[in-house]
């Protein structure tokens, strides 16, 4: 560790399993306010483990809120652009939370525990912002509680994840499918087990009481050893999500971008009577968007990192919001914002990397899609 890294580490928050990660030989780095494992062996090795086998991520940095009360359903439905009416107990929903302007406050997962109780999972960097946002938009008989410190969150992801999770808990996994979850008592306390993830593979996310996290982690490796389970760092979390075109808040979308611009218009329930940002979004839908998030492939041997400028016909027209090397495709890929009229698949671009203009092309998203067995 260099001097500046040490300084960094002391100011940053540590995950509840930090010691376990040290023992596993993690290389750490900063992720927002957190000091997290970037990789244990190598990003590419861990990426391939999740695509072909099974890996576990410690994502306890994520925030969790409970919204309770007889009016919880109505209140949550005003906060999010997607529709809580699609939910019933045991189902989860992905949604942006928007400002009146249509700009994205955060992207969240909403879990319906009961019609009067919702769990909202938010991005770590937005915990305080979201809590204030929700708190100031409460009405009727509903209360919001920040329970982020009470939960550890582990994501078991990959084609072999079902085998590992099935051995860990005495639950019937055939009852759970994509975006479904179950809540049950176990020797680790109350567990919420959801079939959700951020990798593009089959996978599960396990919420457990923070004090139980070390025991659960060790049990996971006991049952997972035979399946080749490995710990996975934040490096591979980024390459996996980017291949699958899952957007990262603060990068691919911000308060300055709308769900339409970010290409997630499908998460806006246009028919819903009212929600924060509806007027602005309806207007933007009618008038058309000015800029759009696109996926590109870099044609030369270079990576277009976040912040790189995108050029077209000798003019700077856009900016890269995420860029990496795709281990699955063995290509340099990325996302960025462009004027809507340039955002066509097949359009060639140039991206400025280290002072040189490098060729790129807009391609279809996602870059990678898992083959589903019918």
């Amino acid at each position: 560790m260099t001097h500046s890294e040490k300084e960094n580490a002391s100011n940053l928050k540590k995950l509840p399993l930090h010691t376990e990660h040290e023992v596993s030989g993690a290389r750490f780095g900063a992720f927002g306010e957190w000091w997290v494992p970037l990789y244990f062996t190598s990003v590419i090795d861990e990426h391939e483990t999740v695509r072909r086998g099974v890996g576990v991520f410690d994502i306890s940095h994520m925030g969790e809120f409970y919204v309770d009360g007889p009016d919880a359903r109505r209140v949550v439905n005003r906060w999010i652009t997607n529709d809580v009416e699609k939910l019933k107990p045991g189902r989860a929903l992905y949604s942006p939370v928007c400002r009146e302007s249509g700009g994205i406050v955060d992207d969240v997962l909403v879990y319906e525990c009961a019609p009067d109780q919702y769990l909202i999972v938010v991005n770590a960097a937005n915990i305080e912002k979201d809590f204030d946002w929700f708190q100031s938009r409460l009405d009727g008989r509903a209360a919001v509680q920040n329970v982020s410190e009470q939960f550890a969150l582990l994501a078991v992801q990959g084609p072999r994840s079902r085998g590992v999770v099935g051995k860990l808990f005495d639950v019937d996994l055939s009852e759970i499918s994509y975006y479904h979850f179950t809540k049950f008592k176990s020797s680790y306390g109350e567990i919420i087990l959801a079939e959700t993830g951020y990798t593009g593979e089959v996978g599960f996310e396990i919420f457990c009481p923070v004090g139980q996290a070390p025991r659960l982690w060790h049990s996971l490796f006991q049952v997972g050893r035979g399946h080749g389970l490995k710990p996975i760092g934040f490096g591979a979390r980024d390459t996996l999500r980017l291949e699958s075109c899952f957007l990262l808040y603060g990068h691919d979308m911000t308060d300055q971008s709308t769900p339409l611009e970010a290409g997630i218009g499908w998460t806006v329930a246009w028919g819903k009577k009212d929600f924060v940002g509806k007027d602005a979004l309806v207007r933007q839908k009618h008038e058309g968007i000015q800029r759009k998030l696109v996926g590109f492939e870099v044609k030369d041997r270079a990576i277009a990192r976040e912040g790189s400028r995108i050029h077209r016909d000798g003019r700077e027209v856009g900016i890269v919001t995420s860029g990496t090397y795709s281990p699955t495709l063995a290509k340099s890929i990325g996302l960025g914002y462009l004027p809507a009229e340039s955002a066509r698949i097949g359009q060639t671009l140039e991206i400025k990397i280290r002072g040189k203009l490098v060729k790129a092309e807009i391609v279809k998203m996602p870059f990678y899609k898992r083959e589903k067995i019918a």
Partner: protein, 130 residues
């Protein structure tokens, strides 16, 4: 980590194998470990003249891009094109198949600033900065 005693080293983690009229240059085991997952290598051109301490090559790993510096001033005599087709060889075999370029030094006296194995190891132990 492995640092062969017949090589010389730089503070910026390049290794140098001195041959009669040329120096072969690569990056150390420590450097490849820090860089991790090499995915692209940008090499200098054969015939290019380079200056000690200046960037001659760029290594892109999944996590970041890293500059590789000329250990001495001179002319590039050969480059390892294998790094273009199989960049991961830098991680697997940094001292043999993973060499970067050969340089004909024009200021042989500059090589006096290069480190011996024990000096380089000591520097790493005291916390190296890239």
């Amino acid at each position: 980590m492995n640092f062969p005693s017949e090589l010389k080293y730089t503070k910026t983690h390049e290794w140098i194998r001195k041959e009669e009229r040329t120096y072969t240059v690569g990056i150390t085991d420590y450097a490849q470990h820090e860089i991790s997952d090499v995915v692209f290598v940008e090499l200098p051109r054969v015939g290019e003249t380079v200056e000690q301490g200046k960037t001659v090559s760029i290594v892109e790993s999944v996590k970041a891009a890293f500059d590789i510096y000329a250990p001495v001033s001179g002319t590039i005599k050969a480059i390892n094109t294998l790094l273009e087709s199989d960049p991961a060889i830098v991680n697997k075999d940094p001292y043999q198949k993973g060499w970067f370029f050969e340089i004909v030094p024009t200021k042989p006296e500059e090589s006096e600033s290069l480190l011996r194995k024990d000096e380089y190891e000591q520097m790493i132990r005291h916390g190296a900065e890239r």
